[in-house]
């Protein structure tokens, strides 16, 4: 996240989207596109500026019905902003969150700490959003993704994120239909990693 983020100063709360109805619709379609096409980098709408990606996702999907977990650095900067704009309850334990907002792989808790849903209600699983332009946790590795949303003849190849992260994504997928769904946001586009994605680490 840019250091010039408007909410760096805690005394005032920065505005949300200039056109909330139109922009949240466009952001939602970006997220939908990304999760329906795992591994594909989807460009978010330009209209989200100057709101950074993690906050844009929260403005689009979070409200008083969604408990949200923030990593410490996100919480320090945005807790007030999200409470004001989304009215979402902030929770201290990752296990209790419907959404998690994480700045960088370095600050991502083990995926197993998030709620993976119940066998009868797998839709209650958490959605974990990671800003991949934040602090890294290791060198990027190359992965090959397959599964629903990926054409069989054209697996998607990414060079992003540390090996340890992808190993967790593999373990997450092994529990299907339980498991968390991931959304990676960054300058290069937004990438969905639903629990269905199959990962081969190069």
């Amino acid at each position: 996240m840019s250091a010039a983020a408007p909410w760096a100063e805690d005394r005032t709360i920065a505005p949300g989207f200039a056109d909330p109805v139109g922009t949240t619709q466009a952001v939602f379609r970006t997220v939908l596109d990304a999760l329906a096409n795992p591994g594909l980098a989807v460009r978010p709408p330009a209209a989200i500026a100057p709101v950074p990606a993690l906050a844009a996702v929260a403005l689009t999907l979070c409200d008083l019905d969604t408990p949200v977990w923030l990593d410490e650095s996100v919480a320090a900067r945005w807790a007030g902003y999200l409470k004001f704009h989304c009215g979402c309850p902030l929770v201290a334990a990752p296990q209790e969150a419907a959404f998690a907002m994480v700045d960088g792989f370095a600050r991502l808790p083990p995926l197993a700490r998030f709620f993976p849903g119940e066998p009868a209600f797998p839709d209650t699983a958490a959605t974990v959003v990671v800003d991949v332009d934040g602090p890294p946790a290791g060198p990027d590795v190359s992965v090959r993704l397959t599964g629903p949303g990926v054409p069989e003849a054209e697996p998607r190849v990414l060079a992003l994120g540390p090996a340890a992260f992808w190993e967790q994504v593999q373990a997450n997928g092994a529990a299907f239909p339980l498991g968390v769904d991931l959304l990676l946001v960054g300058r290069a586009g937004w990438i969905g990693l639903p629990r269905t994605v199959a990962v081969e680490i190069a």
């Binding site: 939908l32 096409n37 689009t60 009868a120 839709d123 699983a125 629903p148 949303g149 769904d181």
Partner: protein
């Protein structure tokens, strides 16, 4: 746009709730996500699930097509298309290829869908096991354990009794090798169009309060048996307007002497063929 209502009718809080449900539906293909379905200005059973899904995904840049029984000009399709033109001011079309969102009741267009398009199905009964077991709590257990033996038994009983599987529409499918799913009452003729489609398929059941999805490029298999493979409906007749022999044909009774004609159920497909010079069967 209609004064006093939000863009696309639904308030933003409702849209967020439905959008979250859609994302989870995409993440667990074929699983029915419960959602707090709203009353809509159209009656339950008339497409409220599809309307809520469409209202939640629709944006100013979208071009909407609405069909019922394959046709753009059936009364309910007209009514729903007008509803969105009125509350969202979006562009509408009858051309399958021009649409970004296609809301449908009972058909998938004959024109192959492309990547980036979204099909929205209106679903009356989302639970494929409902006719075998009316209790939701029991069916929920079956889905959790992927225990679909009862459905195979039912289909097998059909074969014993009729010599074939008697289900001709809303024919159950298995999505991505896991969840058993009702494809909505499309004819089984349309089932193969679900398999590995480049388009995203969203299903909305308003009265039953369920949303489910098939992501693009996802394997969708119609249930069958090795010795009784899934088979498609076919007609020996051709469309009386465009001459097509490969599309789904509606039967039209001409008199009380048993004379009848057949026409394409998909009006856009038929019109395009006629415009390209195709003639009807005699």
């Amino acid at each position: 746009m209609t004064a006093g209502y939000n863009f696309a009718y639904l308030d933003e809080q409702t849209k967020r709730m439905i959008r979250r449900a859609i994302l989870k539906a995409v993440a667990v293909p074929g699983y029915q996500v419960p959602f707090a379905s709203r009353e809509m200005p159209l009656p339950f059973g008339w497409g409220t699930g599809g309307i809520q899904v469409t209202a939640s995904i629709l944006g100013h840049a979208d071009i909407l097509k609405v069909i019922d029984q394959g046709a753009d000009d059936t009364t309910n399709a007209v009514s729903i298309r007008r509803f969105f033109a009125r509350v969202a001011g979006v562009a509408t079309t009858t051309r399958t290829a021009a649409a970004t969102i296609i809301q449908t009741r009972h058909r998938i267009p004959e024109t192959p869908l492309r990547a980036g398009q979204i099909m929205v199905f209106q679903v009356p009964i989302p639970e494929p096991l409902r006719w075998l077991e009316p209790r939701e709590s029991e069916n929920r257990k079956s889905h959790a354990m992927a225990d679909y033996g009862a459905m195979h038994v039912k289909l097998y009983e059909d074969i014993v009794r009729y010599g074939q599987i008697a289900t001709s529409y809303d024919y159950p499918v298995r999505v991505a090798g896991r969840y058993l799913m009702a494809p909505s009452p499309i004819p089984k003729f349309d089932n193969p169009k679900l398999d590995r489609s480049p388009a995203l398929m969203l299903f909305g059941a308003g009265r039953e309060k369920r949303i489910y999805a098939i992501p693009p490029h996802t394997p969708v298999v119609s249930l069958d048996f090795e010795d009784h493979p899934f088979s498609l409906q076919r007609w020996t007749e051709a469309c009386s307007q465009c001459g097509d022999t490969a599309s789904f044909l509606d039967e039209i009774l001409l008199d009380d002497q048993g004379n009848r004609r057949f026409v394409c159920s998909d009006t856009d497909h038929c019109a395009a063929r006629q415009a390209a010079g195709a003639g009807g069967a005699p």
